[in-house]
């Protein structure tokens, strides 16, 4: 280490130290002369040796190589610009993708001790939910010693401030939420466990910075003001900071203490009901406690809770913890998606590298002369190789910098577009920089080393390297194109195919009776009244009840196997009119009688899977006392899993006990949006303390489809970029081959060869790489796209149309990019070429 310091010191003071050494030797010479001895020899050689003793010669050579490289590249601006552009795209796409992943899953939230925050969720072999009952949360909070703190968030439907038409998003949180995160209020104070934890505390609300700007005109005097939320007076105590980071990426506009929940939602039992899973739980690991230790303790606590409140705990339940200190709590499926995106973007890099490699090879011919001279005057192969690698590194570095800039720009635009949390920053952090450096190294190795080896061996005439590069480009771009085609097909399918239910004229009305403390009987009375009044409303054609409304916030499913095939079953509880209201056809049998017991209706696919070739009616499901008879078969309608073609539905008739959880579904004869105010007024006349959430299914459906459209759009763009890159590469390579063989072509034509035959001879060497690339790319895509299945809206991942479209597009691009430069050869001026030679 000290030696390194001395060496660096020498390097920095080299000029002075060298002069001193020269002085020493000068003196030596003088003294030797006095003593009558001969001169001491070549001092500059000695100085050089002294310099070498410090071990910095490699640096000199590197600087020399770099200087030479810069000169060489500056002399070929077209080549340099193309390479840098291609690399910038290849690296940029990867850095952007990683940057996004970094933001979502790696960057710690700017909150106190983000690395100790965990998200805690209920899991069991058969069930999973992101929410738990508040009393269970309290139980864990009080008893877990491995957690130094626990926070809960209760999401609620949007609330009304004063008499605003537009509703405001809201969350109830435990009073320690902000103190645990270390949030400092922009104005006033945040919630305080000392003041806001008790149910008797005066009602308080914290506003989001955005709401404070929009709704309250950035008035600092808002602190202390009385506003009304859903008609209940409440005092504003503070405003969140501008760049507030909350857990789980949730950014509601008003934050309320959870102890006040019964004040805003009258008769609510949420805080006492052991079976109402409604809060999201977060914990902070106590100092020195591992995640595993915490999970172990929670498991023991779950068992204890089971003994005390068996109704609150599932069979085999445990609490799963995941790192919570990031924007997104990553679950295994998300890692799968991330990995898939990573593979796709890496393919772009493969195309870019193969492309640049091809360009380097082609350029080697023009440099043959120069390199020949260098070898002739004594440069070793290693020296030439090192020079070429330095050039590649230089190109790689510049290209990557450009890519980094490109990626940062893309991220910046994306952040601005999606209204991301303010604390997110598009500027690359050390992880992104490290990733960029790593990917630059890998890319440089691939595009630089292979050509450099060939050139240094003076064997650039060999076609193998070229063929490998072409094959790699074609393979990678065919994978990208096939995936893009599949996603496009899926979008189309989603847009233009009947989802199995008529979503156009439906609204769902969710009064959240359970959360308002309605008993089953009271809920039934309310729902009956609502149904009757809605049916009497002009423009309403049908009304029914459903427990899990279409495209709802709550999704329930269970994974099982039917005859060895994995399926996901979506259960639901409905009233008899459900199928008519939803316009889901009944294929066989009948709908339920009101409150019918031990009867079940299944979807077509379910019946086909379970009883292939048999009549499903009259068959039974379940065993013992829970045995249910199939009374009907409904059309497939994946109302809560639009994109999952494997989903199967199973319906039961809603019972009295289900009433507090039921949601109204209303079908209109005209524009569904006009029903919203009517439903609202009707509900208010029955119970003014209710604020039902009214949603138009058409809008929800479009939002859902828009998501996959965006994904398909992005993937298609990436695929197009890949194919354009590949085409550019082909154009360059073919043009190069043509130039190389100009004489041969000219002679062939002069001897009377037909143009087609000449073209065939030139392009023959690309035939196998093209076919091999296409073949391996297709196989790779076919295997890889299995992972895509759930995103494909029922389109098979082997959909022949998509594959054919991708092949045709690729073939077209390849053909054009090969024929255009090759055809030039046919128009060559024969006389002048032959004369020249």
């Amino acid at each position: 280490m000290r030696e390194l310091m001395r060496r660096i010191h020498y390097l920095l003071n080299w000029r002075r130290l060298d002069a001193e050494l020269q002085n020493d030797m000068e003196f030596h010479r003088e003294m030797a002369a006095r003593a009558g001895r001969k001169s001491i020899g070549n001092t500059s050689r000695l100085r050089e040796q002294a310099y070498e003793a410090w071990g910095w010669t490699w640096l000199d050579r590197l600087v020399q190589d770099l200087r030479y490289g810069v000169r060489i590249l500056a002399r070929a601006p077209g080549f340099t610009a193309t390479v840098i552009l291609v690399l910038a795209i290849g690296v940029g796409v990867n850095v952007a993708a990683f940057g996004l992943f970094n933001m979502v899953a790696l960057t710690p939230l700017p909150v106190r001790g983000a690395d100790r925050i965990v998200r805690l969720e209920r899991r069991s072999p058969d069930n999973s939910t992101s929410e738990m009952a508040y009393p269970s949360f309290r139980f864990y909070q009080e008893n877990a010693r491995t957690l130094s703190a626990a926070m809960a968030v209760l999401g609620v439907p949007p609330m009304q401030i004063d008499h605003d038409l537009e509703l405001t998003t809201a969350s109830f949180v435990t009073a320690n939420y902000f103190t645990e995160l270390g949030t400092r209020a922009a104005y006033g104070r945040m919630l305080d466990p000392e003041i806001d934890a008790g149910p008797g505390a005066p009602p308080t609300v914290v506003l989001s910075y955005g709401l404070w700007q929009r709704r309250f005109g950035s008035d600092p005097g808002v602190v202390g003001r009385l506003i009304h939320l859903n008609g209940k007076p409440v005092t504003v105590v503070g405003v969140t900071p501008f760049a507030f980071a909350s857990l789980g990426g949730q950014h509601p506009d008003v934050w309320l203490p959870i102890a006040q929940q019964p004040y805003f939602i009258e008769r609510s039992t949420v805080l006492h009901d052991w079976t109402n899973s409604s809060v999201r739980m977060w914990g902070r690991l106590a100092p020195g406690v591992s995640t595993k230790a915490a999970e172990q303790e929670l498991r023991a606590l779950t068992d204890r809770l089971r003994r005390q409140h068996p109704e609150a705990v599932w069979e085999g339940e445990y609490i799963q913890s995941s790192p919570g200190g990031h924007l997104q709590v990553m679950q295994p499926p998300m890692y799968r998606v991330a990995a898939m995106i990573g593979v796709l973007t890496l393919l772009i890099l493969v195309v870019a590298c193969a492309n640049v490699g091809g360009l380097m090879l082609a350029r080697a011919v023009t440099r043959q002369h120069e390199i020949g001279i260098r070898i002739a005057i004594g440069a070793g192969r290693m020296r030439i190789l090192r020079q070429l690698c330095t050039e590649a590194l230089l190109l790689g570095a510049i290209g990557s910098l450009a890519g980094l800039a490109l990626a940062t720009m893309v991220l910046k635009i994306t952040l601005a577009k999606v209204n991301a949390p303010r604390w997110l920053n598009a500027m690359p952090d050390w992880r992104v920089l490290l990733f960029t450096a790593g990917i630059t190294g890998v890319a440089t190795f691939f595009f630089g080393l292979l050509p450099a080896l060939q050139i240094a061996r003076q064997k650039q005439q060999k076609t193998t390297a070229r063929q490998i590069l072409v094959g790699a480009q074609i393979a990678a771009s065919s994978v990208l194109l096939i995936v893009a085609a599949l996603l496009l097909r899926a979008t189309q399918h989603a847009l233009y195919t009947d989802p199995g239910f008529g979503y156009e004229r439906l609204v769902s009305v969710d009064p959240q009776l359970g959360r308002h403390g309605y008993t089953a009987a009271a809920a039934r009375a309310y729902l009956d009244q609502m149904q009757n009044r809605l049916r009497a409303t002009p423009g309403v054609s049908s009304v029914s009840l459903v427990k899990l409304p279409p495209l709802g916030r709550t999704v329930s499913n269970s994974n099982t196997e039917i005859h060895g095939r994995k399926v996901t079953i979506y259960p639901n509880w409905v009233t008899p009119d459900f199928f008519r209201t939803m316009e889901i056809p009944l294929r066989m049998g009948r709908t339920f009688y009101p409150n019918e017991k031990h009867a079940v209706i299944v979807s077509e696919s379910f019946a086909r899977e379970q009883w292939p070739g048999e009549n499903p009616l009259g068959q039974t499901l379940g065993d013992g006392a829970d045995k249910d008879t199939i009374v009907g078969v409904a059309g497939d309608a994946h109302i809560n899993a639009l994109s999952d073609d494997d989903a199967l539905e199973q319906y039961w008739a809603a019972q009295q006990d289900d009433m507090p959880d039921m949601v109204l579904i209303v079908r209109s004869t005209g524009e569904a949006g006009s029903l919203a105010p009517i439903a609202k007024a009707l509900s208010a006349s029955l119970d003014p303390s209710l604020f039902p959430e009214i949603r138009q299914l058409k809008v929800l459906y479009r939002d859902n489809v828009a998501q996959i459209e965006t994904v398909a759009g992005v993937v298609s763009m990436v695929g197009l970029v890949a194919v354009v890159l590949a085409a550019m590469g082909l154009v360059g390579l073919v043009a190069f081959v043509v130039t190389q063989r100009t004489k041969e072509i000219a002679i062939r034509i002069a001897l009377g060869a037909r143009p087609a035959a000449v073209l065939g001879a030139v392009l023959k060497q690309f035939r196998w790489p093209l076919l091999m690339g296409l073949g391996s790319g297709t196989v790779f895509a076919a295997l890889g796209s299995k992972l895509l299945r759930v995103a494909l809206y029922g389109v098979s991942n082997l959909d022949p149309g998509s594959y054919a479209a991708a092949w045709i597009l690729l073939a077209l691009f390849a053909a054009i990019s090969m024929l255009v430069p090759a055809a030039r050869a046919l128009r060559l001026n024969l006389a002048s070429i032959l004369h020249h030679e």
Binding site: R2, E3, R6, R7, Y10, E20, L21, N23, D24, M25, F27, H28, E30, M31, A32, R34, I40, G41, R45, L46, Q49, A50, Y51, E52, A53, W54, G55
Partner: protein, 113 residues
């Protein structure tokens, strides 16, 4: 025979760092004086080549065994004197002991074989 010792100290060229360390042990010397001193002390047997002396001194500077400092020569000229560092002193000690052991071992072989 354990060969972990620096056996290149046996050849005069390999022994040069050791010799240099030894001659500047008592007082800092300039390059010419180092060469002279070795020459004289070896009764004119060892002539230190300038071509070896200066690169070797550079290596020793790099290792931190010697330091260079400005001084005035006997001819009243400004020149660099090389001085032994603590690290150099330790190095000399270890080289001397290993050199002693090796020569002794060789002597042993030559005598008894």
């Amino acid at each position: 025979m354990p060969m972990e010792d620096r056996s290149d100290a046996l050849s005069p060229a390999g022994a040069l760092p050791m010799l240099i360390l030894r001659v500047i042990q008592s007082e800092p010397l300039h390059g010419y004086a180092i060469a002279q001193r070795i020459h004289l002390l070896s009764s004119d047997v060892l002539a230190v080549e300038e071509g070896l002396l200066y690169p070797t001194l550079q290596k020793m500077l790099r290792k931190g065994w010697v330091e260079a400092e400005w001084g005035i020569s006997e001819t009243n000229r400004k020149v660099r004197f090389y001085r032994l560092t603590t690290q150099g002193r330790a190095q000399l000690k270890s080289e001397l002991s290993s050199y002693g052991r090796i020569t002794q071992a060789i002597q042993e072989v030559l005598r008894t074989a």
